[in-house]
Amino acid sequence: MPTIRPEQDYFAHLAQGRFMLQRSRASGKFFFYPRVAEPVTGGRDLEWVDASGRGIVHATTVVRPKPPQQPYNVALVDLEEGPRMMSRVEGVAPEAVHIGMRVRARIGTQDDKPVVLFDPEQKGQA
């Protein structure tokens, strides 16, 4: 089994345009952030799986820095696979992001590095 290097592997996947999550083969449970072992069980039978990209906003805030910097959103998103992650919902005003909102992941770039962002799910998107 190849050695898992959690952070390195995760960002390498993002750089290749893939948002991937880890899960334990035995339990089938996903977790985030990436680790060398499954929480609680300590299981090391881990595999990387492409995330569905579907999520629901669990909590949200609008960070209001001093002007002229613009306010921006930061949200906690519950992924369809189970884990929760921090991200930013774009494509709507930061105040319009609300708890329960269905969102879709996309890989964007920030500070020259790949980063997972979310957009509101469009009607008809499944």
Binding site: P34, A59, T60, V63, R64, V74, M86, I99
Partner: protein
């Protein structure tokens, strides 16, 4: 799981002091911590050399236990410097009680100090956001507490006016405390107009950034009686943690205080309704509501209604954060030890204008990280033994 035994009432706080609350230019965090410690030791005629159990954790010195011992030229038998955040000092009291009972130390000193207002010019934190979260530029810790507040509002319909009640109560207590940093009147209108920092949290939902130091001396119950008229006995103490970063908090509306509180109350053999005064770590207004619920003063979801009508303010049914709290009295990065100092002063009957009449039982509750680490102490006077 083994039985949750605690040496109830077998150790006591005999001295408690603060130092340099507000602005103390020209003093390092260690200078401040030492000054508070000497103030506390003076109260009971002890010298630094008498301290053989040292418990400390400064925000800007990873090895602060060693630095403190070196500064005062002491060689403690126990040097404890844990890192559970602002709750650390309440866990120190727990370990000190166990160590005193086991004969591992005789005089335990718990100390804290920070010059982060005048020295560093802002919040000092050794916390770095993980690589997975740094790009989103959440302002921490306020943003983490904003998430918890947003979720709580969503689930329980909490109103901003109810958070405002917490801020107003803290200010009214601060007005009775000459040491408090912010004592000017605060109205609900002022609160509702205050600038948003990280929605739904505004400036007036946030604790202060001040300098300040605190120290507490603990000895065996036996020795305590010879040192002071009214020792403050440690009746129960427990700590719990369930995450570090807010993203991993199992339920954003329920803290591990549910566990630390239940254990501490069970050890003490008392109920929340027996408590005369509660000092809970109010880094943000939501904290007070969460901790009142999680410690059992009211049910989950009822905290907002509970604090209405001045219930936790001076003259209210349950005096909470009687020094003015982190919101209006002092918040030098970590506030935990100040809950113990204020609880001690209340139980010793030494709280001046803000004294809660006939206070016999108090809770001191500390929080660390992003609602991550919870530690609860139940403290009582001799009548409660």
């Amino acid at each position: 799981m083994s039985a949750d035994r605690f040496p109830r009432g077998r150790s006591a706080i005999v001295a408690a002091s603060t130092y340099g609350i507000g602005e103390s230019p020209g003093l390092s965090s260690m200078d401040l911590a030492v000054s508070a410690s000497l103030g506390a030791l003076d109260q009971v005629g002890l010298k630094p050399g008498d301290v053989d159990g040292l418990f400390i954790g400064l925000p800007d010195d990873f090895l602060s236990g060693l630095t403190f011992a070196e500064y005062l030229g002491i060689q403690p038998r126990i040097t404890e410097n844990n890192r559970t955040g602002g709750s650390a000092f309440l866990t120190h009291a727990m370990w000190a009680a166990l160590a005193i009972d086991a004969g591992q130390c005789d005089v335990a000193l718990i100390a804290y100090g920070s010059n982060q207002r005048s020295g560093a010019g802002g919040l000092v934190s050794s916390m770095r956001p993980p690589a997975y979260e740094a790009p989103y530029k959440l302002v921490r810790p306020v943003g983490a507490y904003a998430f918890a507040t947003s979720r709580y509002m969503h689930e329980y319909g909490l109103k901003r006016e109810q958070l405002g009640e917490v801020a107003l109560a803290a200010r009214r207590w601060a007005q009775l405390n000459p040491d408090a940093f912010m004592r000017d009147p605060l109205t609900m209108e002022d609160y509702l107009k205050s600038r948003m920092v990280s929605d739904p949290i505004s400036v007036r939902d946030c604790c202060l950034v001040t300098d300040g130091a605190a120290a507490v001396v603990m000895v065996s119950a036996e020795r305590a009686k010879h040192l002071v008229k009214r020792p403050v006995y440690l009746l129960g103490a427990a700590a719990a943690t369930d995450h570090r970063d807010i993203t991993s908090m199992p339920d954003l509306t329920r803290t591990a205080a549910v566990h630390s509180g239940a254990r501490a109350f069970a050890q003490a053999g008392v109920k929340p309704s027996d408590i005369d005064v509660a000092e809970v770590y109010d880094a943000f207004t939501i904290n007070t509501i969460l901790f009142l619920e999680d410690l059992g003063f009211c049910k989950k979801g009822e905290g907002g209604a509970f604090v209405e009508g001045g219930r936790i303010a001076p003259g209210g049914a349950l005096p909470v954060n009687t020094n003015g709290g982190g919101l209006s009295c002092v918040h030098p990065g970590m506030y935990g030890l100040f809950t113990m100092v204020e609880a001690t002063q209340q139980l010793m009957g030494a709280a001046g204008e803000r004294q809660v009449k006939d206070a016999k039982l108090a809770v001191a509750h500390g929080n660390g990280g992003e609602l991550s680490s919870q530690a609860t102490l139940v403290l009582g006077t001799e009548e409660t033994l």
